[in-house]
Amino acid sequence: MIFNKIKKQNGVSLVETIAYIAITAILLVSIIGLMMNVFNTRKNIESSNSVHHNARFIVNFLSNRIHNVDYINNVDPDPAQLHFYEYPDNRYSLIIEDNDLIWQETKDIGEGFPNQSTAEPILLNSKKVHVSDLILIPISDGHANENRGIKISFTLTFGNINDSFSYTQKTFNTFIGLR
């Protein structure tokens, strides 16, 4: 009988190499895709959360303050639009400065309103969120008493418009009445 002696092989065959590369490539593409997806989602969530969190905070803050206001003075076309008066000597206003929403609290220190030299600005939005298009409309109550509530509209923007994953822009509308 003749025995075919096959020599022992230690190297990698071409086919095996091609298969390895192919599989690795597929895996890499999938993993990178996934990674990108996760990163984008993270950016998206951060952006969206920032905008909505800011919206909730702003509305809560304004509700708390405006509920206690005694009367509202319409000072349009002054940029403050409205002056909120709370007895005995507080005056508030809401303005946008450099894309920031600012709540100004003033005490009457004898200089009379609308002097705002004692204003203590309170920033209502976080750093990365820009506020724009603030519209305050005073509303009458069912007995035609004027300025018994305000309709509020504002727009919040987060991120660069060119970066679609991190960019969020929303306009919020609500209404707050005086107590």
């Binding site: 069912g142 509530g149 609500t174």
Partner: protein
């Protein structure tokens, strides 16, 4: 033998396992990522719906209450004013917002006011509460149908209050301006004290007490008794051998007493009472214990009858009750008919144990005080004067000798001789005459000669030579307070009090008749009265009256009650009604009464009327503050 070579490459199985494993990981991560995206979308949308929900809730609060009628609505801004229109609205092409208004029903109702727990079925409609439901439906970008519901109750809770806590400014103010004044009151109401309105209780300031006049009868013997009625006072004395024992005075001017006439009875007279045109005397004469004097002409009195009670015992006191007269002797009580006062008819006699001193007749009972140690007070039923009946007795503590008794209402006031071991004045509750009970006592540390009562005051003639006249406030028998003490020039052996004047029979032989007074002209007591407030303007004819409450003191057997009148005309008419809308019911719960809802609804002007009543002796209700709550419709 075949030799198999060792293989070092992947087997197909290994490869498949690896691919499957990686696929699972990829799918899992994708699913999570996708899920995150959905949650993100839903959260974004929820923030939006929250703001739209707040908007609806805040807007509804600004609406006219009358527009809140049960139905489904949407909001529309019209000329800077919110308006409710039936239906729903689509906001941002995504959110469907519906505002549902529902009526609210509560567990209980009183005078038209629904109150207590809100119930989901049955119950009573509460027009002052509405349920508002803001529903927002949307199809989420995540592909799911979502809904947010905001539920809350609107309650017409805002109310104003009209309070009055002072009436001292007096009557005559028709329109509310001065908070201390009112429109009108009946004469029984006492508003003199700042901060309260009460019934006239006969308050006297005894600091003003003074002797206004005295009369010295020339000669005469020791005074025994005095009785005052109208403009006249009648005084009797012990036997005066050379003159009179019965005197008639004109006391109409308390600063100038005049003796009108006197009469020699020829015996010691112990008691005197007057009824109509006749004076009835009890005497120590053995053969005419009862004597009747015609006093119709006080300047010319005339003895018209006398009666000899069998047995030779001294008459001690006399009492009259319209058609009967009673004489108490040391150990018996006799009754006579005086249908014809000039011919008294003997009716009955009953034994007394023992040594009676004085008596007081009150309604159907005669109260006799004695020196008997174990029954100083004895009570006789005179419902049938021809059949006298002893029904009760009371043993004062210790062995005391009673000296005088005065009965008013449900109380008997008994004075005794100096009691070294306790009180000399005893107040008993005789609401059940069969079993008198002890209410209070007061220690004077000397003998009490006489007791009489003015309103809430006991006028005590004492044996204390520094304070012969003692005035005690006996409103609360358990805590008797001294209202005044006066040093007179003689002991008051007997006294009769009327209004603010004490008519005293004094032991001082230079001023047998003594008049002492606080000089108050108005000392009326009243057991009923009412007061009508000024007209109060609530300022709006869209309102409901909520409740009335008051504070003050209301002793037993006294009442404070209110009625309310409303109108849309400041001049009335004022039709005062109680909780059921009729004039026969009253608000009588001091802490809280719901005011009749429908009867007074939307009536701008208001008046209250307070009714004070007492059926108690010496106790009056006191009103200190009244509050009426009303809500003007928002």
């Amino acid at each position: 033998m075949k030799e198999y070579k060792k293989q070092t490459g992947f087997s197909i199985v290994e490869l498949l396992v690896a691919i499957a494993f990686i696929s699972v990981i990829v799918v899992t991560i994708s699913t999570i990522s996708n899920f995150n995206n959905k949650v993100l979308k839903i959260n974004e949308e929820r923030t939006q719906t929250l703001l739209y929900g707040i908007e609806a809730a805040e807007a509804v609060k600004l609406l006219d209450w009358d527009d809140l009628i049960a139905n489904d609505y949407y909001l529309e801004l019209n000329a800077n004013q919110w308006e409710l229109l039936p239906g729903s609205e689509l906001i941002d092409n995504r959110y469907t917002r519906t505002i549902t208004i529902e009526d609210v029903y509560r567990e209980n109702i009183s005078n038209g006011h629904a109150y207590d727990q809100i119930v989901s079925s049955g119950g009573n409609i509460d027009p002052d509460t509405k349920k508002v439901i803001v529903t927002i439906d949307w199809e989420s970008k995540s592909g799911l149908d979502k809904q947010e519901i905001l539920e809350f109750y609107l309650h017409r809770w805002e109310s104003d209050r009209w309070s009055q806590s002072d009436w001292a400014g007096g009557a005559g103010q028709e329109t509310w301006a001065d908070a201390t004044r009112f429109s009108a009151k009946t004469s029984g109401m006492d508003i003199s004290m700042e901060g309260v309105v009460t019934l006239k209780s006969g308050f006297l300031d005894w600091n003003n007490g003074t002797t206004t006049d005295a009369y010295n009868i020339s000669g005469g013997s020791t005074v025994q008794d005095i009785y005052q009625v109208g403009d006249y006072a009648y005084m009797v004395t012990n036997n005066y051998s050379s003159g009179s024992e019965f005197y008639v005075f004109d006391v109409s001017d308390i600063y100038d007493v005049q003796l009108l006439d006197n009469m020699n009875i020829s015996a010691s007279v112990t008691g005197v009472k007057v009824d109509g045109d006749y004076a009835f005397l009890s005497s120590k004469s053995d053969n005419r214990e009862l004597q009747v004097i015609d006093i119709s002409n006080p300047y010319d009195i005339d003895r018209v009858a006398e009666y000899n009670i069998s047995g030779n015992r001294n008459g001690r006191d006399v009492a009259v009750d319209g058609t009967e007269v009673y004489i108490v002797r040391r150990d018996d009580l006799s009754s006579f008919s005086i249908l014809d006062p000039e011919d008294p008819q003997f009716l009955d006699i009953i034994d007394i144990d023992d040594y009676a001193i004085a008596m007081h007749l009150s309604e159907d009972y005669i109260f006799v005080v004695t020196e008997e140690d174990d029954k100083e007070l004895q009570v006789f039923d005179i419902t049938n004067p021809a059949n006298l009946d002893q029904i009760g007795e009371y043993d004062l503590p210790g062995d005391l000798d009673a000296t005088d008794i005065y009965v008013q209402g449900n109380r008997a006031y008994i004075g005794v001789e100096n009691n070294p071991s306790g009180d000399e004045l005893f107040i008993l509750d005789i609401s059940d005459p069969q079993t008198p009970s002890f209410l209070g006592g007061y220690e004077i540390s000397s003998t009490i000669y006489s007791v009489s009562i003015i309103g809430p005051y006991a006028i005590i003639g004492t044996g204390d030579s520094n304070e012969e006249l003692l005035v005690l406030d006996v409103s609360f028998p358990a805590t008797i307070n001294k209202a005044g003490g006066f040093d007179l020039d003689g002991f008051l052996y007997a006294s009769q009090s009327n209004c603010s004047v004490v008519y005293g029979a004094s032991s001082n032989t230079n001023q047998e008749l003594l008049l002492f007074s606080t000089e108050d002209l108005d000392c009326g007591y009243s057991n009923t009265g009412n007061l009508v407030s000024s007209t109060y303007d609530t300022g709006d004819d869209q309102l409901v009256y909520n409740w009335i409450s008051w504070s003050g003191t209301q002793p037993l057997d006294t009442t404070i009650r209110f009625q309310i009148a409303t109108s849309n005309n400041p001049a009335g008419p004022w039709n005062f009604v109680g909780p059921d809308g009729s004039n026969s019911t009253y608000y009588d719960n001091a802490s809280h009464n719901f005011i009749n809802y429908s009867h007074h609804q939307n009536q701008r002007y208001l008046r209250y009327k307070v009714f004070l009543d007492t059926s108690s002796d010496l106790q009056v209700p006191v009103l200190e503050e009244v509050n009426i709550s009303y809500s003007i419709y928002p």
